[in-house]
């Protein structure tokens, strides 16, 4: 019964996210303000459904559902969605939603292709630290994903301004300055959470395995990601790195995030591997 609801919930998440993306895309072309409001409401609906889906898995599994590939990706999509929605309360960036909703849809589609099986949790990992560590890390990824979307938009707009060929994006994308600000804010928030994620992880590792740091591939790659972002933030503070360079760095950083999340599991294994 519950697993049926669970199954239906995921399908409805997919459908609603697809409709939200489609709506945002139509808005992107037509620029009709009414469509934007509708798209936003649907996207909010998708966010709520995602939360319900994760909650239903929590009830079935009996622990925070972040122990399989499928769960990790859904969690990631959820964090991007809510990072965007919470961010939106503070200030809005023109047509940002279109890019974010597309990214979320892509993540959910990936989640749909992998196995939705439940994995039992190793006894060593059954602790309150799991939701704390995983939650913080995934929220960090959410903000870094927003920075990635902002960076893509920056590069698109910058290309139009530099080449002086004003096409499709010029009128639809916001100013370079506001995109750079967006990148900066999301990066600062994401970086802070990432730092916290690494710290909570190592504290938990100390409790579970006795040492703070294992040089597990995932830890190593998190650290590499952390250094990439730290370097960028440092450069911005000292030399005023901004604009294109900052955007490119955000994209590189985000690729490292993606690799940490997926690549490591498939290629390198280690204690974070879901398929134990």
């Amino acid at each position: 019964m519950l697993s049926e609801i669970n199954y239906l919930l995921f399908n409805s998440v997919l459908v609603v996210s697809f409709v939200a993306s489609a709506m945002y895309l139509v808005f992107f072309f037509s620029q009709r303000e009414k469509l934007r409001r509708i798209a936003r409401m649907i996207f909010l609906g998708s966010g709520i459904l995602q939360s319900l889906y994760i909650f239903s898995r929590y009830i079935i599994a009996g622990h925070t559902p972040i122990t399989s590939q499928h769960e990790a990706v859904v969690f990631f999509a959820w964090s991007v969605t809510w990072a965007y929605l919470s961010f939106h309360w503070r200030y809005s960036v023109r047509n940002f939603g279109t890019f974010v909703s597309m990214l979320v849809l892509i993540m959910l589609l990936i989640a749909a292709t992998v196995s939705r099986q439940f994995h039992p949790l190793a006894p060593a990992l059954q602790s309150l630290w799991l939701p704390v560590h995983a939650g913080v890390a995934v929220m960090a990824y959410g903000f870094l994903a927003l920075a990635f979307c902002g960076a893509i938009m920056y590069l698109l707009q910058e290309r139009e301004l530099k080449s002086k060929k004003f096409g499709f994006f010029f009128s639809r994308l916001p100013s370079l300055d506001s995109l750079d600000q967006l990148n900066n804010h999301c990066l600062t928030a994401g970086f802070g959470l990432l730092t916290l994620g690494i710290i909570t992880g190592s504290v938990w590792a100390r409790q579970a395995w006795g040492t703070y740091w294992h040089w597990d591939p995932k830890e190593t790659w998190s650290l590499i990601t952390w250094f990439l972002y730290a370097a960028q933030i440092h450069q911005r503070f000292t030399l005023g790195w901004r604009g294109k360079r900052a955007a490119v760095m955000s994209i590189i950083g985000f690729s490292a995030v993606i690799f940490t999340l997926w690549g490591v599991n498939y290629l390198l294994g280690g204690v974070h591997s879901y398929a134990q």
């Binding site: 707009q157 301004l161 530099k162 002086k164 060929k165 004003f166 010029f170 009128s171 916001p174 100013s175 370079l176 300055d177 506001s178 600000q181 030399l239 005023g240 790195w241 901004r242 604009g243 294109k244 360079r245």
Partner: protein
């Protein structure tokens, strides 16, 4: 009889790239070119317009293909060979020339349709021509008419409301680079009219600080005072570039005054804050390579054209209305011109009639013994007969039905009344 034609030759931003226009633009003012133009055979009246978007010659001349060729050679000088300039040059005759002039004056042919600077530039060009006594009855009338057409277009359509000038496009761009112009600093290089206009718009949109850099500090001071800004010499340019955000360059310098390598080291001190360069000078002031630097955006006047394209649709509607006015006025002027063509014929006919009456009176009156009062009556009668006889032919000549073939009609008229010999 060689007939008179109105010719308009020129190049503009639509079919001639900036690189070519740069070579043609008259940086030395109007005086010399007008004198040189005066030496060309066959021109009766002539006028020359040179702006950063167009160079045009308007003449009234004796008909013949040679004039066109000679004017083209004058325009391009040694810069381009006939094969090269063929694709850039446009050449209009008579009605087309009138129509084009009105289109230009009404700012319908401008890069930024509806901008108002062109009328001022037209008036200045005309002032030069008339001061040098290059214009005569036809061009005087034609140019004055073009001014009033421009005024009519401005008052009867909304064409000027969305784009006032090149500055409008610049602001559109600035808003895509900086989210708002609030508190942005502006540096004007060159204290000309264009710079002033640009500054006015930037300040109107929230820009805070205006610095004027100019070769002659006096002019810079005058302009700076208008915006409560500061004036600096050109040698302080590099220092200023560290502080400002938007630079409008409009000097009359013959070459590039700011190079990529000048700006590159400054970006570090600016902490990479974006710089927006607007180069509205022809020839260009700023090194095109500047645009390759990170966080530096350079636009010359041709680039601004692209921004304008974005707002075209809404202005196109008004432009249609405006071109109807231009069409109407061109037709009226054509009529006036046609009237001008028949005026000498009408005068000659009138003269011939009066002469016949006078001759016949001189032959008849001495043979009659008439009182002064009676003589007067006979003279009046002779005059009335001539007038009444000529009234219908004259009316026919002036009539609408023959307007389009006035030349043919005038020829016919002249041979019917045998006026040819008198001319």
């Amino acid at each position: 009889m060689p007939s008179e034609i109105i010719l308009l030759l020129g190049v503009n931003h639509k079919n001639t790239p900036l690189e070519v226009r740069e070579k043609l633009a008259l940086s030395s003012g109007y005086e010399e070119p007008l004198q040189a133009l005066g030496k060309i055979d066959g021109l009766r009246e002539y006028y020359l317009l040179s702006t950063c978007n167009r160079v045009e010659i308007l003449v009234s001349a004796r008909d013949g293909d040679d004039v066109e060729k000679r004017l083209a050679e004058f325009l391009f000088g040694d810069a381009l060979s006939p094969d090269q300039y063929k694709k850039h040059l446009y050449c209009y005759r008579n009605e087309e020339a009138i129509h084009h002039l009105f289109m230009v004056a009404a700012s319908l042919d401008s890069m930024i349709v509806g901008e108002s600077q062109i009328l001022g530039q037209l008036k200045e060009a005309y002032r030069w021509s008339s001061e040098q006594k290059c214009t005569g009855p036809i061009l005087n009338k034609l140019l004055h008419k073009s001014f009033s057409v421009a005024k009519r277009v401005r008052s009867e359509t909304q064409i000027g409301s969305s784009a006032v000038s090149i500055s409008y496009a610049a602001i559109e761009l600035a808003k895509k680079i900086f989210s708002s112009l609030e508190n942005k600093r502006v540096l004007l290089i060159g204290a000309g009219e264009m710079a002033e206009l640009a500054a006015e718009h930037l300040v109107g949109n929230g820009a805070k600080d205006v610095v004027v850099a100019n070769r002659t500090l006096g002019n810079a001071l005058d302009l700076a005072k208008r915006f409560n800004g500061r004036a600096v010499g050109l040698d302080e340019l590099h220092e200023q570039l560290e502080q400002v955000d938007i630079i409008v360059s409009s000097t009359g310098a013959p070459g590039v005054i700011l190079f990529k390598d000048d700006v590159k080291p400054l970006m570090r001190n600016r902490r990479n804050k974006p710089l927006f360069f607007i180069d509205i000078a022809v020839p260009r002031d700023l090194d095109p390579g500047l645009n390759d630097l990170d966080n530096v955006y350079l636009y010359d006047i041709d680039d601004l054209n692209n921004v304008v394209e974005l707002n075209k649709a809404e202005r196109d509607k008004e432009a249609i209305k405006a071109s109807r006015i231009v069409d109407e006025e061109s037709l009226k002027f054509k009529d006036w011109l046609a009237g001008l063509a028949i005026t000498p014929t009408l005068a000659a006919l009138r003269e011939k009639g009066d002469l016949i009456a006078k001759m016949e009176l001189e032959r008849t009156l001495p043979r009659l013994d008439l009182s002064a009062k009676e003589q007067k009556s006979v003279e009046m009668m002779a005059g009335a007969i001539v007038s009444k006889l000529l009234h219908d032919p004259m009316l026919f000549l002036r009539s609408e039905s023959c307007k389009d073939q006035s030349e043919m009609k005038v020829d016919l008229f002249r041979s019917v009344f045998d006026l040819e010999k008198k001319q």
